[in-house]
């Protein structure tokens, strides 16, 4: 069920009404669990059992970490993480391993290659790991311990809700247990932040339906071998268009998730913080898919040793983290190459910073920003064309197709639909400037209302063809 579909809107409206009925306050969490199960089953009813299995593993392991025998807490935590990872490895990477290491016509190979990919598996598995690790880490902190109810039924309900809450169930943001569990409790309609919900939902839907979905229809031209007919300039514009599309698609989704959660009184962490104004690769990863990068830092990079064991080990840890982060995005070696490209850039940047120091000159920062954007955009090619040979063909075409005719119309549309993303980033920069403070709040509020009115008009009249969110496949 897509966030943009009428069925989804109906589900949200019905759930919202039931959720805020005063006589059903006691049943708020079960109502959201039921809505979440319906949401998941609507798309993949045959794999609902897997979500239930994953939830059960996390219910058991987190409960035992607190209430099991004290000398076995460590064991329960490890078992919880291992089971979570086993499910992810089997279902998500089984086909890749089958294709790479087993004969696809053999029994094992055929089984692995034909495994269905459960939607959202990467997201709900990571949340499960977060629950087990956080519970183990904070098992002696009374405030956290109190969140793991002794009553198993209540604990089951909490874990179910934490892992399955529908706004983030299939594409994040990845919410950490220590962030979400304290929020669970009765909510009243008076506490709903309407203006925040309206802004995030309108902006999210605009980015997804008007920007990303329209750009998607134009970046279709990046299909092998058709792209070989286009000029170098067209290919570069298409690549930049895809970079804007992937941002609008995922940032739009995250904003919708934030707005939906807020309708039910819950808060998710911000997932995107204007990533294309980043002036370094480290800065980029503090701004792009923040919930994933902070998860990888907290649960992978730091446990690997982080930067505590010398320079060489730091670089190695960065590479390992980013390659695994790349593979998290998809079961194809091109994602590992994408992760490696980012890991190498981070390591090189760290090396350059350590060796030459960091420049504070504005022009140098601007150049660095352009370099980061260019590199990040080039790396997205591995997302658009998972076949590595096609990536090479695209790069070759950029170099050799200088004399071919431009696709003027496609270029114009890509530039036009990319402008809101550019404007969104520039508006953020403008807001940081001192001049902004001189504008009266009232005038700004009226202008903001007009802008959101126009965005809503564009959602109604100018949405692109309906398409799944790019990150659904992860």
């Amino acid at each position: 069920m897509l966030f943009t579909s009428p069925e989804f809107v109906l589900l949200v409206v019905c759930t919202f009404i039931l959720y805020h009925l005063p006589i059903l306050v006691r049943w708020q969490v079960p109502i959201l669990i039921a809505a979440s199960l319906y949401f998941y089953a609507y798309g993949q009813a045959n794999l609902l059992w897997l979500l239930l299995l994953s939830v059960s593993i996390n219910i058991a392991s987190s409960y035992l970490v607190i209430y099991g025998k004290s000398n076995r807490h460590h064991l329960y935590a490890i078992l919880g993480v291992v089971f979570n990872l086993a499910i992810l490895l089997f279902f998500k990477y089984g086909p890749l391993l089958g294709r790479t290491f087993a004969a696809t016509d053999g029994e094992l190979g055929s089984l692995l290659v034909n495994l269905p990919l459960p939607i959202g598996i990467s997201f709900f598995t990571f949340q499960g790991i977060s629950l087990v690790v956080d519970t183990y880490k904070y098992r002696h902190v009374e405030q956290y311990r109190s969140l793991i109810a002794r009553n198993l039924l209540k604990h089951t309900q909490t874990v179910f809700f934490f892992k399955g809450f529908f706004p983030q169930l299939i594409s994040g943001p990845i919410v950490k247990a220590n962030f979400f569990l304290p929020q669970i409790g009765p909510k009243s309609i008076q506490a709903v932040r309407w203006e925040y919900c309206f802004r995030t939902l309108v902006l999210g839907y605009f980015l997804k339906m008007v920007v990303a979905d329209n750009l998607k229809d134009h970046t279709m031209l990046m299909t092998y071998p058709y792209f070989e007919a286009y000029s170098s300039f067209t290919l570069l514009v298409l690549l930049i268009g895809y970079s804007m599309q992937i941002f609008a698609d995922f940032a739009g989704y995250s904003l919708i998730a934030l707005g939906l959660a807020a309708l039910f009184g819950y808060q998710f962490p911000i997932n995107f913080n204007f990533p294309y104004i980043a002036t370094s690769f480290a800065d980029f990863w503090r701004r792009w898919h923040i919930s994933l990068s902070s998860f990888l830092r907290e649960y992978l990079y730091i446990p690997l040793g982080g930067n505590r064991h010398g320079t060489a080990r730091t670089y190695t840890n960065l590479l390992i983290t980013m390659v695994l982060g790349g593979l998290w995005h998809g079961a194809a070696w091109s994602y590992a190459v994408w992760g490696f490209a980012h890991g190498a850039a981070l390591a090189l940047e760290r090396f350059a910073g350590d060796t030459f120091g960091k420049s504070t000159f504005r022009r140098v920062r601007l150049l660095r920003g352009l370099l980061v954007f260019g590199y990040v955009t080039l790396a997205w090619l591995l997302f658009r064309l998972p076949n590595f040979n096609h990536v090479l063909a695209y790069l070759r075409a950029i170099v050799t197709n200088g004399n071919k005719p431009h696709e003027t119309l496609a270029i114009s549309f890509i530039v036009l639909y990319s402008l809101p993303v550019v404007g969104y980033h520039f508006h953020h920069l403008w807001q940081q400037m001192p001049a902004r403070l001189s504008i009266s709040e009232n005038r700004f509020s009226t202008r903001t209302a007009l802008i959101y009115g126009i965005l809503l008009f564009m959602i109604i009249t100018n949405s692109g063809s309906e398409g799944a969110f790019i990150y659904f496949q992860f």
Binding site: W194, E195, F198, V202, N214, D217, H218, M220, P225, E228, A229, K404, P405, L409, S412, F413, L416, Y417, S445, T446, T448, A449, L450, Y452, G453, I454, L456, F457, M458, I460, T461, N462, S465, E466, G467
Partner: protein
């Protein structure tokens, strides 16, 4: 702030509806992409006068290149890029319109249409009612597409000519690569179950239309010589003859000529003109010899 925003949206929608109401008739070819071109064509068929056309063509992007007005006056081309003849037939059924003559391209009957190009949103009864009354919901009137059309008309006049694909603009290396790719794909056997299922659906549509008085004419679009006798096209021809036997159904057979294409399956501009003329001549012959007046 929320009410101000909603009020702004409502005012914009009213103003835009008035603009469509009083200036919409002159707006044409607003689609921004191939997929949208399909939807706009379907919308125009359902909501505008096109449904009054008494001759229709259903097919894929191959038939989209036919010059419908040269084929027969009052002819509407319901061929869709990336889709099959079945999609056009579904649309005719959804529109509740019975044409006098229906040209059916056989090349694409068995092709499964991709979900991304799906036309069900156009035929869905609920959204149809809404779009009937609220034209700003139609893809044809997307502001960006309308802006494109207005700028184009202002720059070039409202000519219907689209820059034709000619042999001089052809990338021969790319063309060879595409022919090679198609050669591999078209040499493979078609799924019997899927092909049967598609032809059964087509038979259900066409036999009903024929019973209601429509003259059904099946034709094949010419493709590259290296491809035309491969396993897949031969199988399709066999199926077409089996499900729609002559003389119960009218057939126009391919001429012996060779045709030049841009990518193996799509005719170049001149060739499509030539083939349209051929279809027209064959149609005239059929009209003269047909037992009932076409």
């Amino acid at each position: 702030m929320i009410w101000k925003s909603i009020l702004t949206t409502l005012l914009l929608l009213i103003a835009y509806t008035l603009f469509i109401r009083y200036g919409g008739a002159t707006i044409s070819r607003t689609a921004q992409t191939t997929a949208q071109r399909n939807i706009v064509k379907a919308e125009e068929f359902l909501y505008e006068n096109s449904s009054q056309c008494d001759t229709l063509i259903v097919g894929s992007s191959m038939s989209e290149r036919l010059h419908s007005k040269r084929l027969i006056p009052h002819c509407y081309n319901l061929s869709f890029s990336g889709l099959s003849s079945l999609d056009g037939l579904y649309l005719i059924q959804a529109g509740g319109h019975r044409p006098n003559v229906l040209f059916v391209e056989i090349n694409s009957i068995a092709r499964e249409s991709p979900v991304s190009l799906d036309l069900t949103t156009v035929t869905d009864p609920n959204s149809r009612t809404l779009k009937q009354w609220l034209p700003f919901l139609r893809q044809k009137y997307q502001p960006v597409g309308v802006l494109k059309a207005l700028l184009r008309d202002w720059q070039q006049g409202s000519s219907d000519l689209i820059a034709p694909e000619t042999a001089s603009r052809l990338d021969t290396a790319l063309q060879q690569k595409m022919v090679h790719q198609l050669h591999s794909a078209m040499s493979l056997p078609l799924s019997v179950a899927a092909t049967d299922s598609s032809f059964k659906k087509a038979y259900a549509f066409l036999s009903r239309l024929q019973r209601q008085g429509t003259t059904v004419i099946l034709f094949e679009m010419p493709i590259n010589d290296q491809l035309k006798n491969l396993l897949a096209p031969r199988t399709i021809r066999d199926y077409a003859n089996r499900y729609f036997p002559a003389p119960q159904y009218q057939h126009i057979v391919l001429p012996a000529d060779s045709f030049r294409t841009s990518d193996g399956i799509h005719l170049l501009y001149d060739e499509s003109l030539y083939y349209t003329n051929y279809l027209h001549a064959q149609y005239e012959k059929l009209a003269q010899t047909a037992p009932k007046r076409i």
